[in-house]
Symmetry: C2
Subunit: 173 residues, 2 copies
């Protein structure tokens, strides 16, 4: 194959390759924007409800994605963009604070089942409002409807087949 032409790259006289400003802005912007939004939402939740964004997402999956309010650890893990061990620790924390219960699956004694408690449902309802508020203020209020669609399109292209699937059923978050 012929050597792939690199876009947006110039080699400077010091021998260090550089990016064209348009490309640098896109790259840096992507990383910083995600960081600002993520950190902001996390802080909103912590201040209002004493729970982080990751813990919130776990409650969300339990309460909104599953009719029953319970999922096996494995399902929780495959839905969250987090490692097995991180989910395990987050669930342990949520259990300690009373927002979920842990039990053993009847059909397979190896598996653990996580269930959201009534207190967890209350927290979820309140936290979801906080979360959407923050999302509106930090992200959507700054974009037009067309911008939002564009952002979804661009990030899906970047992610390729790894793109988050939000088509089936209602999509919380």
């Amino acid at each position: 194959v012929p050597p792939r032409r690199k876009v947006g790259v110039r080699t400077h006289e010091d021998g260090v390759a550089h990016l064209d400003p348009t490309y640098a802005a896109a790259f840096l912007g992507l990383l910083r924007a995600a960081e600002v939004v993520d950190a902001g939402l996390d802080q909103d939740l912590r201040e209002a409800h004493g729970i982080g964004l990751r813990g919130f997402e776990i409650l969300l999956h339990l309460g909104a994605f599953s009719e029953v309010g319970s999922l096996r650890m494995g399902q929780l893990i495959s839905q969250a963009p987090l490692s097995q061990s991180r989910v395990s620790r987050l669930v342990a924390e949520l259990s300690r604070t009373g927002y979920v219960d842990r039990s053993t699956a009847v059909e397979d004694t190896r598996a653990a089942v996580v269930t959201i408690t009534p207190a967890g449902r209350n927290l979820l309802r309140a936290a979801a409002a906080t979360h959407l508020d923050g999302l509106e203020r930090r992200l959507f209020a700054r974009l037009t409807k067309a911008d939002v669609a564009e952002l979804g399109r661009l990030t899906a292209k970047i992610l390729g087949s790894d793109a988050p699937r939000t088509g089936r059923g209602r999509s919380p978050l």
Copy 2:
């Protein structure tokens, strides 16, 4: 003021508010795309040169942004999206491995001056190539030129005044 209309939000019968799929895709896509790109670039650099993305950025600032190859800690800190303590630790590590030197500023004995070494310049040159390669493969090859401009525009809108400024001079990264 009249209550601001929330876009893209629907309240579900279970009392938990949800996002329209288009909005959820934009939000999740932003976070995941940044994560994938950032983690991928970091791993590329670690495998090829035993240095992380943050450490690389510090070398880049020293070698490409400054003519002399040295900056005071304070300048380094204000240019990196990292805490004071993180930069301090990263510089300590780079010093331990011989890629930078630390000394005391002559004009103000409180300040520390960080200087890139010849070994650091060699590493920088090689790592910059790896970095741009990864950027091309993981980000730019998946987007058209117009997409790249769009991504820059959208993230600048999201970041508002906090947007990274890549206009002045050559822009590495």
